[in-house]
Amino acid sequence: MAIDAVDQAVISQGLIAAAREMGVKLVRSAYSPVVREANDCSAALLDRHGNVVAQAELIPMQLGPIGATFRPCAELFPTDTLVEGDFYINNDPFQGGQHLQDVFLFSPIFFEGVLVGFGATVAHHLDLGGGAPGLNPDATDVHQEGIIFPPSKYNMDHDWNGGPLERLIRANIRVPDQTIGDFNAQFAANGIGGRRVMELCGRFGTDVLMEAMDELLDYSERRMRAAIRELPDGVYEGEDFLDDDGVTDEPLRVQARVEIKGDNVIVDYEGTCDQVGSNVNCPYASTVAAGLSCVKAVLTSPDIPFNEGSKRPIQVRAPYGSLLNPRRPAPVRARMLSAYRAYNAVMKALAPSAPDKVIAAGFDSTEIIVLSQLTQDGYKIYLEILGGGYGASTHSDGCDAVDSPLSNCSNVPIEAMDMEYDYFRVEDYSLVADSGGAGRYRGGLGFQRRYHILADNVTFATYSDRFRLAPEGLFGGADGVCASTQVLRGDQVINLPSKVSFPLEKGDILVARTGGGAGYGEPGQRAEADVERDIREGFISQAEAAE
């Protein structure tokens, strides 16, 4: 029986609204700044088989593979054995997870005793133990990065709220009050999603609801395929490089082969370098998310609901043992950096056949800043995520100072930091002039933050990229400007590499400067008025304009 078209529209909207509400409430009831201010979390509703049907549009990276993170749980603990109060948990990078900090929770939704779907949330947890607070850049295996939750099933009544799982986690992490608070916010958001799905069941019946879920997947698939068909068939190649693995100075190659055939796309990362001994390895689920997100962003209009159906036409392959599909126990904490190069390689491959849909390379890195301090009262951990400039396009300049495409974190307001952290103070947060590559349209600007360190025994840990290899301009546009990190100590200027841990002293000034995006088209073709505005506003200097 075909579902009534209007019922379909109503239920689809209801599901999407419910997922959005889950996301809002997760953020609003969370405790750590990385979730409540930076919004490093996501939420989705899954059908009873674990297919994502609707998602809160928060972080593309976390959303792409939620279904893949779910499946190992359901294989070990079949869905027909679930009872009220059960939940699945998974953060295992080698069984559908990403990096350990992103913990996925799935809560089944029952209506009149029938399993109809799952509420799912993922949040980046501030600290999950491991070799250093918040981030251990020196980890040589995954075990040094924190506690692993293999795909498992627990129950709220038995295991949480003071139960054994909660106690186990609490004992193994450094800031338990914030972290357990964030877990509770995840459970609550799952509950909200469940409640909304039950309301829809009450109005339409479970059969109609399940049918509507199926149709929503088919609908996204149809729209995705329609978009893919517009591209000429062919095989396209692209490559990009990471600066290094943080241990040697050797660039790391990422290679993508994109095949478009009718309404299907195959992305194959054959030719990518082997996995490395440091934390830039990218688990397969993250690689899939990177490839999918790029294809989706380039080919389709932003309003196609992204769900399991929209993934059906796209296959992503990566050789086992490579940087983009590492073997256990590779460390993976900084997987975003390699994921971005996987994203860039696909973008470059698509550029010649879709020049008006792609953008030039941007800073396209996740720069993590961790400032931690151990005091008599325990650990204090501050963590934030910095983006930079976007690449320009045939339509406009790249966006200035914004989180990179696979993520979507907000900044932590200066006033939120000042309220809670007494061992540093941000004294400057500004755009970096001249950091965008010139072009008919220029790349977006990077930005900088200056942290004045107010106490001794503060440790800085970071990972970033594009410190040495600039994002490349497109169709004649100039490259973007690289990022840098410096410590100013008295008269001394200490240049730090992109992936490092470094002890700070009271009085130090830490300057984190993120990179700009690359330009698009010949700089000579730039409109005079745009150049003048950039000079007047101080976005570019006279010297830069002259060139």
Binding site: V6, Q8, S29, G191, R223, S396, C399, A401, D428, S430
Partner: protein, 674 residues
């Protein structure tokens, strides 16, 4: 006589009431000079200003100044190191897969911002003192070189301690007495520098525009010997005497939708209903708002053109579903309605002004639920065949009949409205079935019953003259001001006493301010606290009754907070975290000395007729009745009935029955579900 004039984007509405007689006028707005439209409405309504005791005005002047970037040239003074806060914004994207993403454009340029050497800590202590001599000279040079009319001052952590802002304001005032000065501490005292800077800058940007607009307006009133009281509508649902606008212009944003809600509150209140969801459907969009016990929900945040504003506003959710919303098929084969709108020009196809895409108004023409001969009370010629033509094309694409196509489009529009209503109800932890739906605006009463069915709402109340309810709302609104304060207080020993002391101070402030503005009479006060668990960043508003405030202790506060937290997030006290108070809000209001009732216009005859409509998949015979005819039928009139009252069309479908109560409201009830 009491007169309300509401200037909207397309029409300017006037409602005049004297001795129970209601006069209504509707004239085209003059977007470039809104006061001309307002004066024209006075002429159209044949109003002699000498006899007007109370004139209340709402307009889109502030909103348009921002949308069209026609505010005053504004400079911003901020803390050293933070010149770019308005450009950096929050570092996120509202469309996560949009590669060409652009941030919302601030209303000033980077060169209009001056950094000041000073710094306050998050606890309100001076980290770097402000050197007045040096700063004064810098300000003189900077402002002297620009052509500014207005100065915004927003410093880091000034929400905790505004001392430096005050010093800067004094320095500016001393050297540039003609400039309008707006300090963040006077506009919003919430933390998060981007949102606060945005709010302060926008306030400074619109203030001179509003000032000169109101001066012109007052002059014109003076020329016509107006001697009554002139007050202005605010987005918080209350009005202020015009003098109050000289430092509060930002509160006049979105005053139109707020006035509509207040009109609905008043009119439904007369019939004894206080728990309402209002539904204002016009040409391009629908506004919904939840009202609990006669008090509309407030929200601390809103935005214009993507730019955030933090000041108390009615919690109105807007969705792009109106009479002009375009119906279309997307590339996945789904029927969509809006957000694109045909607007007023070209308008729906039936307007005959070149609109070639099917709009919701066209769908109603096809279904027979809007009749060409009764459009705007018969004042406008429309062409039903054009509606059929454009819908026929869409019907062929979907392979359904013409009227089924139109019916489906209306149902999808209804679903969009339902989504907005869930946002203000279920998402805020309220069950819509506990509320009465109050539709108004040109199209609200046409869609109300089906929307109600979707949400399980069983009672609808349609006020008289529903098409001009916003203008009436101006007259029905109280004088209203909020005083706010940010002060973090963990719940525990002594917290309740401190709460009482601080509320006493706020109450004193609000009272003095009202007396200065010449508002006499009894003041009513409301008290609310924004609270959270320590460590959370977002607060939940906890309302406290005046009586309870006197008796309250920390345990009682915690219980109130837990209940509110549990309602919104579906969980409460876990024993893990303590709760704290973050900010205080005191509302002070004074009722206008007389609130006229919005009764029937004169000359409404009891007429009945027959028509045919297509609803829910089939053609039906439908009664055509005037309001007076419904009123005559004491036992109620069973649907399907169309009631045309000149300002809007009311639809009573099958399974619903309508009756007019003694306040001239039409009550529509669902049979068998009551």
């Amino acid at each position: 006589m009491r007169v309300g004039i509401e200037v909207g984007g397309t029409f300017t509405d006037l409602v005049a009431i004297e001795d129970g007689r209601v006069k209504v006028a509707k004239v085209p707005s003059v977007p470039a000079r809104p006061d001309e439209g307002a004066m024209a409405s006075l002429v159209a309504g044949e109003i002699d200003l000498r006899s007007v005791a109370d004139l209340v005005h709402g307009s889109t002047v502030a909103t348009n100044a921002i949308l069209e970037r026609k505010g005053a040239p504004v400079a911003l003074l901020t803390t050293r190191g933070f010149r770019d806060v308005l450009f950096l914004q929050r570092h996120n994207r509202t469309q996560i897969y949009d590669l060409f993403y652009r941030k919302p454009e601030p209303v000033l340029a980077r060169r209009d911002i001056l950094e000041i050497d000073e710094r306050m800590s998050g606890q309100g202590e001076v980290v770097e003192a402000l050197d007045k001599a040096v700063t004064g000279a810098k300000i003189a040079e900077f402002l002297g070189a620009g052509q500014y009319q207005s100065v915004a001052i927003c410093l880091i952590n000034a929400y905790a301690e505004p001392k430096h802002e005050r010093q800067l304001a004094a320095l500016v005032a001393a050297q540039f007495p003609d400039l309008t000065i707006t300090c963040s501490a006077d506009v919003t005292r919430e933390f998060r520098e981007y949102e606060r800077t945005s709010t302060t800058t926008l306030a400074a940007y619109v203030q001179p525009v509003i000032d000169s607009y109101l001066r012109r307006f007052e002059t014109e009133l003076g020329e016509q010997n107006f001697a009554g009281r002139f007050s202005i509508m605010q987005s918080n649902g209350g009005r202020l005497p015009v003098a109050g606008m000289s430092r509060n212009a930002i509160t006049s944003l979105f005053s139109g939708p707020a006035a509509g809600v207040m009109g609905a509150v008043r009119q439904a209140g007369l019939s004894g209903y206080g728990d309402l969801i209002t539904l204002d459907m016009g040409g391009t969009s629908t506004d919904v708002c939840l009202v609990a016990d006669g008090k509309p929900n407030l929200s601390g945040e809103t935005e214009v053109d993507g730019l955030p504003i933090r000041t108390p506003v009615l919690d109105i959710v807007t969705v792009g579903a109106g009479g002009g919303s375009i119906c279309w098929r997307d590339d996945g084969g789904m029927l969509r309605v809006g957000p694109e709108s045909a607007g007023a020009d070209p308008g729906p196809a039936c307007y005959g002004r070149g609109g070639e895409q099917p709009a919701i108004t066209d769908a109603h023409m096809v279904r027979g639920t809007i009749r060409a001969e009764a459009f705007l009370g018969g004042a406008m010629d429309v062409d039903g065949s054009a509606s059929s033509r454009v819908f026929k094309e869409l019907a062929e694409i979907f392979d359904v009949s013409l009227e089924e196509m139109a019916d489906n489009a209306v149902r999808v529009a209804d679903a969009n409205i339902v989504g907005a209503m869930q946002l203000v109800s279920t998402e805020r932890g309220r069950d819509p079935r506990d509320y009465v739906l109050v539709p108004f605006g040109g199209a609200g009463p046409l869609h109300a019953a089906r929307v109600a069915e979707e949400l399980g709402i069983t009672t609808i109340l349609v006020p008289p003259n529903a098409g001009v309810l916003s203008a009436y709302g101006l007259l029905a609104s109280d004088f209203l001001q909020y005083e706010t304060l940010t002060r973090r207080i963990p719940l525990g020993e002594g917290a309740a006493e401190l709460v009482r002391t601080l509320f006493d101070d706020l109450q004193q402030r609000a009272t003095t301010s009202f007396r200065d503005l010449g508002v006499d009479g009894e003041l009513n006060y409301t008290y609310s606290l924004d609270m959270r668990f320590i460590g959370q960043a977002f607060e939940i508003t906890v309302d406290i009754e005046a009586e309870a405030l006197r008796e309250l202790d920390a345990d009682g506060l915690l219980a109130l907070f837990n209940e509110a937290h549990n309602r919104v997030f579906a969980f409460g006290e876990s024993g893990l975290h303590r709760a704290e108070i973050v900010s205080f809000r005191l509302g002070a209001s004074a009722a206008p000395d007389v609130v006229p009732a919005l009764n029937e216009g004169i000359g409404d005859e009891a007429t009945r007729g027959q028509t045919r409509i297509f609803d829910q998949g089939e053609w039906q015979d439908c009664l055509l009745a005037s309001r007076a005819a419904v009123k005559d039928q004491a036992e109620g009139m069973a649907g399907p009935v169309l009631v045309e009252d000149g300002t809007s069309t009311i639809f009573i479908p099958r399974d619903w029955v309508g009756e007019v109560d003694d306040q001239d409201n039409i009550l529509i009830r669902n049979l068998g579900k009551d």
